[in-house]
Symmetry: C2
Subunit: 129 residues, 2 copies
DNA sequence: AAAGAGTAGCGAATTCGTTCGTCACGTCAA
DNA sequence: TTGACGTGACGAACGAATTCGCTACTCTTT
């Protein structure tokens, strides 16, 4: 048998989604121009990927426009939350806390960033005292 | 052409690793017993997966023991960090901060957990005043 | 109208992940 | 010793992901 279909976007799909999130909407050509810089694949591949993603519902397209314009079907934020939740579930045994602690202790956080995290914690604690 | 090999463990591989992390080391039979509860696959499949993972270097095995004992080649913590870093890179455009903020704002954090996060922030700030 | 250029779609080819059937071997009890 | 049983190794098979070649259209431009 084969592996089950993942509900998560794959590697390349994610790269394309990032391009679309940044642009807000692009033609196949525009997506290709951005994609080929990091992947070196052909135009044909890009178009195929877009059509696959269309079938999966990952992107929508405006067919009235010429050339057609593609947009991400889901916002970046929603997608991030989904994938984050998935990681927490599958890799952190459902513990968001240990993920957060590990992300912080990775040592990449600047003072400013730590301050932001603190602010967020303050806010959340204010809501449930 | 086909897709490139990912350096990250796949879905099933991850499930097996979690079993091994928890047990600290198991025979194929033991892994299978745990795996079949969530997957319903055959013993043959489990053994095959283990041998694939052995080739990939995801697990080691003690061949002197009978039956052979498998252990995860990498600690859970290291694997988590790798996968977390990957997610940050590919989904959060390299910003650990936005991942942390999103994880916190998901609203799943209890008061105790928030306190732990605060403690971590305190510690980190203490190191770079 | 014919040539040129870009857009879109289809299907084939390739590799990976996953699953399983089957065979070979070793051990242990009857 | 022989038969039952568990362990382990292959290789086949299938679907998913990815890549690309080729064809068909649609506009321009000459």
């Amino acid at each position: 048998m084969a592996r089950a279909v993942s509900n998560q976007p794959t590697e390349v799909e994610l790269q394309i989604l990032r391009i679309l999130w940044e642009s807000g909407g692009s033609t196949a050509r525009e997506v290709h121009n951005a994609l080929t810089e990091i992947k070196g694949t052909t135009y044909s591949t890009t178009v195929k990927m877009l059509s696959v993603m269309l079938e999966k519902g990952l992107v929508r397209r405006d067919e009235t426009a010429t050339p057609q314009v593609y947009r991400a079907a889901m916002s970046q934020k929603v997608t991030q939350k989904k994938m984050l939740g998935d990681l927490i579930e599958k890799v952190y045994n459902g513990s968001a806390l240990s993920l957060v602690l590990q992300a912080l202790s990775s040592g990449k956080a600047s003072a400013d960033e730590l301050a932001e995290v603190r602010k967020m914690v303050d806010e959340l604690e204010g809501k449930k005292p």
